[in-house]
Amino acid sequence: MSAGSELKLPHLEAYPVHVSLFQDVTNAEFLKRQLLEGNAEYEYAFLDATTIISVNHVLAAVFRAINDSIHNRLKSRNVHSEIVFSLSPNNNIAESFRRFGVSDTTNTLLAIKVLNAPNSAVTRLDPASHLGSCVEGNRIEFSDENLKHSADLPRIRKIYKLNSSDNSKSKGKSAKSESTTNGVHNEAHELKEMEAVILGIMALKGS
């Protein structure tokens, strides 16, 4: 049983981020309702982990949301909704919530809270214990390994419009040095390349 992690993004140390990953969640519907009702105690970004590929995928969205918040250019209500929005390849806020936010059927849930969020009310609740009591599910480690396990790769490819076929195609002679590696290495490599394209798409969003 993990306690969730408190992370400090390089250069944004003033805004520590709490991240908890839960699997076998049974009360997603309840959590979603708290967001819809604007319950102030539930100021989190609740993500459905099936559309998350890796730790960096999440952190890139968090970085962008905090940075945009510092610069007073949020497109959505607050830094937490902005995290969900930042993951999306386009500017449709409702769609970003359908794709990346918690849904009634969410099984693996990623909860994120930006502490000392700029322009946001201070919450007295400790996110680790509050989440522990309000999310019905098992907390697991926030890691690439666990995120890979819950990721729905075909769906992620579709959302970011990645042509899956092209990736394994000839890499020219540079692939020669990799020919000795086994399938595990290549799968990891492909995931890394996918992450790189996704982060690029997210960085360009809104341009």
């Binding site: 042509n163 690029g200 960085a203």
Partner: protein, 264 residues
């Protein structure tokens, strides 16, 4: 230069209390390149900052900075999508004028050739060594791939091509000769960097000029190695459909130089 060297980083890269101050790696006419970390303390990045130019009108400055950051980022993402080996884009802020790219660990082709020529070749240039020829061939493949997806680099030099340092030290699989070449820094994936002047184009002329600029760069940084460039072109010519036409065009470009004649 008498100019003060206290460069100011854009926020949030200037405000950090626990991340060390990013060192300046290099500087071009328009941008400053720093090394720092991003997203996690163990992820190094190249941070390209285009500072405000006080001699430009603020509105124009903002627009140019934004256009240039985005042009570079779009080309990099396009390359990454199509499997051309370039640094990944990890983040950007066109209002502050920064672009965060994956850090490529390795040497520039320039440094790799310097080392090779100094150590192994000496006065009598023996450029038939397997390692160098292989490296030249890999450059040819990468350039063909770049041009093949409709991107022209715009500033190909031996410093804008890198050989990525191989990971997985000592997995016991590589042959002895590969081990030797690794030592010389000739083995490893070729990565194209600095897309600040890149454009999207499928014109033979643009592609040929790209090759011509690199050819001249080879000639000026490594006069003994000029013959090596033939190998780049040979492999380039075999690597995609339009390549042969581009090579023919290159012969015209050689005769007249990079600029098309504007007379008449």
């Amino acid at each position: 230069m008498a100019q003060s060297t206290t460069h100011t980083l854009p926020p949030p890269f200037n405000s950090s209390s626990t991340t060390p101050k990013p060192p300046l790696i290099t500087q071009g006419a328009e941008a400053l390149l720093y090394k720092t970390t991003y997203l996690t303390p163990s992820t190094p990045i190249a941070l390209k900052h285009r500072p405000k130019k006080s001699y430009r009108h603020p509105t124009l400055d903002t627009r140019l900075t934004k256009a240039r950051i985005l042009a570079e980022a779009r080309v990099l993402v396009k390359c990454k999508r199509e499997g051309v080996v370039v640094p990944a884009v990890l983040g950007a802020d066109w209002e502050e004028g920064w672009l965060a790219c994956e850090w490529i660990e390795g040497k520039t082709i320039r440094a790799a050739l310097d080392g090779y020529l100094k150590r192994d070749v000496g006065e009598e240039a023996d450029l038939r060594g397997e390692g160098v020829r292989g490296l030249m061939g890999r450059i040819g493949v990468v350039l063909a791939k770049l041009h093949g997806i409709g991107v022209v680099h715009g500033d190909l030099t031996t410093s804008n091509l890198m050989v990525r340092q191989l990971e997985r030290e000592g997995d016991g699989l590589e042959s002895l000769s590969l081990g030797e070449n690794r030592e010389k820094g000739l083995e490893g994936e070729v990565v194209i960097i600095d897309f600040g002047l890149a454009t999207q184009s499928v014109q033979d002329e643009d592609r040929a000029v790209d090759l011509y600029v690199l050819e001249r760069a080879f000639g000026s940084t490594h006069p003994q190695a000029e013959g090596l460039f033939e190998e780049v072109l040979r492999v380039y010519g075999e690597s995609y459909k339009g390549a042969k036409v581009v090579l023919r065009r290159l012969e015209d470009v050689r005769l007249r130089g990079r600029k098309k004649s504007m007379i008449g």
